[in-house]
């Protein structure tokens, strides 16, 4: 599904990501972990088109999408959420989710202004789908609310609903548990599992080790921009290099 080959990114003299390669299998939950400054967010931003790689390839279903802008990636079935919530607070919750389906809807200015019957019908269907998605992620009771009225935890889930509205093939979650308490983290874990079960490939960057260990089919460990280890949860846990660099003595 997603293959990263020798990906590198340097900002001047800072080599944020160096020669990283890995493969994400379709339908899996794949996590990227590492100490702060290991290059996880940079890697994420490279894959999702926010940064341009200095070297290397990003193959999405066989096509090299390195350096393509985010909207091109969206058209190829990639969705993402943001670590620092990028929710449109000027819109209602359901409108936020409906924006996620943008590429599947009519983008013609005149058709919209005249509210042609086809636009009207598609919009109504989209609204229903969005409401269902909000139920799916657990924020169904906020269907009539403004985004600005929702709590932080609810907004994190709203972002996931928006990402799912595009019916993506691969979903990238940037620190989905950041800022959440214990209970909320458990809820997010259940949600991510539900998403993966529905057939979406999930790649996540995360600090919460429990969440990562519980969910992941495959884990990539980064340190100083380089791949330190990769494997299943059990393999990574047992890897002495990983333990030394990151997990500490009591893992």
């Amino acid at each position: 599904m997603l293959t990263i080959k020798n990906l590198s990114k340097s900002f001047g003299g800072v080599h944020a990501v160096q020669d990283v390669s890995f493969t994400v299998k379709e339908g899996n939950i794949h996590s990227v972990i590492g100490p702060n400054g290991a290059g996880k967010t940079t890697l994420f931003n490279l894959i999702t088109g926010v940064y341009t790689p200095t070297r290397g390839e990003i193959l999405l279903n066989g096509e090299n999408v390195a350096a393509m802008p985010p909207d091109a990636l969206a058209r190829r079935g990639m969705s993402r959420t943001f670590q620092n919530l990028q929710v449109c607070m000027n819109m209602t919750a359901i409108d936020n989710v409906m924006v996620g389906a943008h590429l599947r809807l009519n983008q013609n200015l005149f058709a919209s202004m005249l509210r042609l019957p086809s636009v009207r019908r598609a919009d109504a269907a989209c609204r229903d789908e969005a409401a269902q998605l909000m139920e799916f992620v657990g924020v169904g009771r906020h269907v009539d609310d403004e985004a600005g009225q929702m709590s932080y935890g609810a907004l994190k889930r709203l972002e996931i609903a928006r990402a799912l509205a595009a019916k993506p093939k691969v979903l990238l979650l940037d620190e989905p548990a950041a800022g959440l308490n214990h209970t909320e983290t458990g809820e997010i874990e259940a949600l991510i599992r539900k998403v993966a079960q529905s057939g979406v490939t999930v790649v996540l960057v995360e600090h919460d080790m429990k969440l990562v260990m519980n969910l992941s089919d495959h884990i990539l460990v980064l340190d100083y921009g380089k791949k330190l280890a990769e494997g299943t949860a059990a393999e990574v846990r047992a890897n002495p290099d990983v333990v030394a660099a990151y997990l500490g003595v009591a893992a």
Partner: protein
């Protein structure tokens, strides 16, 4: 509970239609008709500007320039070259649209104060050109505009003009409301809310910004053309900096991201100068005070602030939000 002003599009349009239909009963003389017509014309420009500023979040301090282009295109083509008014209007709209299209991409790459500056500069350049090309535009002394006639039928008299402007206002309001509540409208608002999020869901943000810029410019141009025919005599002031500021004030006071707010803002700030017409300095001061007071106390503008206040009163109290734990 749905938001009356955004969801019940039909309700709002109905109210507007009723108001426009009943209003003539209160317009007891030509002067009142004049104010009503000017409100309608201003409202049309402001709705267009609001699409750009309020919904898409792109500030424009030079919109009077587009308005002026439309006005002068109509004036010059009908008066000097005897073009039929409708053709002149179309030509003005097309020319303005092309200019906006040409400039949109580089201008809209900018944000915040640099965007404000660029649009400001654009508006001022247009007004300087209009002011200086005296042999075409009559320069600072202005130019007369022949009457507006379509297929031999002339629009004359305040009642006919009122009808035309009221119908146009209804049309523009309807189109704008449709646009907002559509995928395009949501894309625009998403650009305002979080441009990076919009890009990530696949919105071609540049293309959309350009489109709404051109659309609002064309709306301004058409309104300018019609105003020119109505007023009968125009001067370069209507493309000037102060007029651009007036338009922005109407958007901001009535309500950013609110179509009906635009109409209210236009109404309030068209009536105000009429009340203060003999006190020029005071008009400027009052405008300034209104701008500042609105931005300090009701930064979202009249209609959105009132709407959210009524929403708070009507909705049931929610469970206390979980405290956000910042990482």
């Amino acid at each position: 509970m749905t938001n009356f002003f955004t969801r019940s599009r039909h309700g709002g349009l109905l109210v507007l239609a009723l108001v426009l239909a009943i209003l003539p009963l209160f317009l007891t003389n030509a002067f009142y008709y004049d104010v009503a017509i000017r409100i309608a014309l201003n409202a049309i420009v402001v709705i267009g500007l609001n699409l750009l500023m309020g919904y898409t979040g792109q500030i424009s301090l030079g919109h009077a320039g587009f308005y002026g282009l439309g006005a002068y295109a109509s004036a010059v083509l009908t008066t000097h070259y005897n073009w039929p008014p409708l053709a002149a209007l179309a030509a003005g709209a097309v020319a303005t649209g092309l200019l906006a299209l040409l400039l949109a991409r580089p201008v809209l790459k900018l944000k915040g104060h640099t965007l404000a500056m660029a649009t400001l500069g654009l508006g001022i350049i247009i007004s300087i050109v209009i002011n200086n090309e005296t042999q075409w535009t009559g320069g600072p002394d202005g130019i007369g505009v022949s009457a507006f006639s379509v297929a031999g039928l002339e629009i004359a008299g305040e009642k006919s003009w009122y009808l035309v402007c009221a119908v146009l206002l209804m049309l523009v309001t309807w189109l704008a409301l449709n646009l907002i509540d559509s995928p395009v409208g949501r894309a625009l608002q998403a650009i305002h809310g979080s441009e990076v999020a919009a890009r990530v869901v696949g919105v071609d943000t540049t293309r959309f910004k350009v489109r709404v810029f051109v659309l609002s410019a064309v709306i301004a141009s058409i309104a300018g053309s019609i105003s020119a025919h109505y007023i009968g005599f125009i001067t370069p002031n209507l493309a000037g900096f102060f007029h651009s500021i007036e338009l922005v004030t109407m958007v901001v006071v009535g309500g950013m991201a609110s179509v009906f707010g635009s109409i209210i803002g236009a109404a309030l700030l068209t009536i105000l100068p009429q009340l203060l017409s003999s006190f020029e300095g005071w008009e400027t001061v009052v405008f300034g005070v209104i701008l500042m007071a609105t931005m300090i106390f009701m930064p979202k503008g009249l209609v959105p602030s009132l709407a959210s206040r009524s929403r708070k009163r009507a909705s049931t109290p929610k469970a206390p939000a979980k405290p956000a734990q910042e990482v």
